[in-house]
Symmetry: C7
């Protein structure tokens, strides 16, 4: 059986790697994790933000570095990307 893995341990393992972040609502991002705090607020580099406008068109926005409020994060997928699905 795989060893037990706590949530913050998993995030810590993702430092320096690509992380797919699925927000509550339709917004998704992929970026390289630089740091995080206990509330899962995250510093991310080389970020691609995927937005779906009201009329369904998909937009990609490139951002060098962001601080993301962890409050609206629904799910983290280490190494994943919406482009995989």
């Amino acid at each position: 059986m795989a060893a037990r893995l706590l949530p913050l341990e998993l995030i810590d393992k993702c430092i320096g790697s690509r992380l797919w972040i699925i927000m509550k609502g339709d917004k998704e991002l992929v970026g390289t994790l630089r740091g995080f705090d206990d509330y899962v607020n995250m510093v991310l580099d080389d970020v691609t933000e995927y937005e779906v406008d009201a009329d369904g068109t998909k937009r990609r926005i490139q951002l060098d570095q962001i601080l993301l409020n962890g409050n609206n994060v629904a799910m983290l997928v280490p190494g994943g990307s919406p482009e995989d699905t």
Copy 2:
């Protein structure tokens, strides 16, 4: 009468087993529980995510490993699956 079972005790018994997670809203997931914290944030492996789109079509998405924010979890069903109902 069955012995008393506390919520976190039940989740602890599920480590390494399949767990059906019903979120507030329409989203459901099944995965193998690797770990969790006091807020029921959960690390899950071999995850199938069940989504119902606006027009009612059901989508399944396979994800190797995720960290799920416990904030939006409505219910956990040990060993269950939406495919059972």
Copy 3:
């Protein structure tokens, strides 16, 4: 006059008994209470979940054992059931 009864005392008296749980929104459940914590998260056995779909049809789902997030519980009715009303 009936003796004073604190909320957590009442729930404690329900351990091992049938409990009707009315959620915020339309969802209701009946199950046997196995355990609970200070946030009224509850472990329930032999659960019947009553759902009303968007078109008004009533669905019953049977679940062996669940952990219910207490956050969305509106009301508990010891020994009651939606089938009584």
Copy 4:
């Protein structure tokens, strides 16, 4: 001038008496207060629940004993009832 009366003091005076509870949203209840905690979760006996369905019809449901989550309580009216207005 009437003496100062703190919120929890007022509720305490209502133990054993009829209490009209107005929830956020359209739901109202009347019951005999058996106990409460600091979050104004309340144990109530001989409860009448007043609901207004989507099409405006008023329903009354009788419940022997309930535990009401204080989180959604908007207002308490000692000795009052929606039947008075």
Copy 5:
């Protein structure tokens, strides 16, 4: 310049006086303040509740004494009334 006045100091000065309470949403009340706690839950006497129904008709409801949950209070106006505007 008028002296500094802290929020709880202002409410304390209102004990025994008429207070206009504007809730989030359309509900407003006027009553005599009997007591309050740190969450601005308030005990009010001789209360007039002003409600606007869905079709715009204004209703006044008289209540002898209430406990109002401070959670939904938007604004307090010492000595004021919606009848002034």
Copy 6:
């Protein structure tokens, strides 16, 4: 470079001055700040409240003194007014 200025320091500097308060939603107010607490609940004198009704008409309401719940404040603009824009 301008010196560092902490949020509560900025509010403290506004005591006795006019303050434009923009709420979540469409409501805005201007008033003279008399006092505040750590939750940015505020005592304001000589208040003008700007409301936009459902049909777009703008209403101004004058209030001598209010206590404003800081919970719904989106933004404070020292010395500003909606009349400036």
Copy 7:
């Protein structure tokens, strides 16, 4: 690999620099960061506020200095601006 960077460390590095702030909902701002607290409430100078009205028209509002409630901040982009995308 880039060094670890904690969220509050990143914000601290932005003192005196331009910061693009994306709020939950459609509102965005750019301003010079003067100070912040643990809740990411922020004092900003030379602020441009970008709003999209219901009918889609974009409005820019210039404000000398504001205190922004951190509660509704979704994302911070150091040195960025909506004019870049």
